[in-house]
Symmetry: C2
């Protein structure tokens, strides 16, 4: 079996139709989606643009829809929830449909083409998403959102965490060079993820906006069992009985 | 000052006109060019295609021109030298003009747009090329050739070596996320570069072709002082008196 990592969705150069894909935007969209699904939201619908979100919400109608996401890290005017996972409590999201647009994460979901199965991965559900991916294919691709179309250390580190869980379960695997890098970084840094990310671009941007508590939240490992799975453009909780 | 690393020339998204650029294709083109320049070749002219090389040689005329490079790692039919640095002895190259075409390295040179100065970097001349880059600009960009348009661990590790030399000379610098990754990998792996690259894609491809001796040669650190500099499409030895 093989495990590939892509630094951005734009870097995908393979046909992934037989792959299980894990989308990672650890600060913060994939952590937000994991949290929302864990806390009982009915579904998350990723959309590229702010206008798409409003239109989708109108089409869905009703009070059960929440508009969620960020631009430049902040709440979008007129939206219900920002991109802070701390807002996605059970009280706020249980039973609701979330229409979500973020700068990097939801776009990575939309840019990753067809694949056998598409999951959202984060530190929060690293082990659970590793198990889900393994259950679907021998060929696993971890697609990082990156930051502004560039390699982002936080996403690579989270990819390393997911790869380490896969290897714990299956033994040594064929790793591409970026997978090897991600695993080596995670092995070096896993004792203190927060300190190891200091100075990295996206981490410092969020910290400067006052989101240190969000960052600490997103760096918790294996505290959730929910695996968000995207089918036909709609993200729901993976049904393990299926 | 800032130090950016690009995994491939295709990933460059900045205007580099004020940057000192270091092109790295450590296995093997930038190691070959460093060796050729150290051993007294007059110049190296990088060209994209095999046909370009033959045409350029005809235009230059005379016996002092050597056709050099590889396709799929091997000597190109009708060429004088392959992409093995062991062939680039003083006897073979002193005073000669080398017209060179390789799969990744020379193309990275040609794809990197205008910059303030463009040098070739390798483990062989890591310290010397770091000094040369620092002498030209406070903004340094290390452009990896990559392998087949993808991130290649050998080039990233060599970037880390060059960054470590810069930091030794100047102290802490602003590093992009990929620069941080390169430095972290180099710090982890510098005690045994050969072992640390085992399993990586380009390393294993070259080893399977029988080039283990070439690899060991290319992983020697700071054994050469020559800095190849590319001006108007021609690579010559940097004149430190200039």
């Amino acid at each position: 079996m093989s495990i590939d990592v892509y630094a951005t969705a734009g870097a995908i150069e393979k046909d992934l139709r037989n792959h299980a894909c894990v989308i990672v935007d650890v600060l913060r969209a994939s952590s937000v989606i994991t949290t929302a699904i864990e806390h009982g939201c009915k579904s998350v619908i990723p959309v590229a643009e702010v206008e798409d979100a409003a239109m989708m919400a109108r089409q869905l109608g009703g009070e059960r829809v929440l508009l969620c996401g960020e631009r430049q890290g902040l709440l979008i005017p007129g939206f219900n929830l920002s991109n802070s996972p701390l807002e996605y409590t059970q009280e706020a999201v249980s039973g609701r449909v979330l229409v979500m647009s973020t700068t990097n994460g939801t776009r990575a979901i939309l840019r990753t083409g067809s694949c056998k199965a598409m999951f959202m991965g984060s530190f929060l559900n690293a082990k659970a998403v590793a198990e889900a991916a393994l259950s679907q294919s021998d060929s696993i691709a971890i697609v990082c959102a990156g930051t502004g179309g560039r390699y982002s250390l936080d996403d690579i580190l989270c990819s390393g965490a997911i790869i380490s869980r896969i290897i714990d379960m299956t033994g040594k695997q064929a790793l591409c060079d970026l997978s090897r890098t991600a695993l080596a970084l995670y092995d070096s840094y896993s004792e203190d993820l927060f300190t190891s990310l200091q100075g990295s671009q996206h981490f410092e941007r969020l910290r400067s906006l006052g989101f240190e508590e969000d960052i600490r939240y997103c760096l918790q490992e294996d505290v959730m069992q929910a695996v968000p799975v995207c089918v036909n453009g709609v993200i729901r909780k993976l049904d393990r009985g299926a």
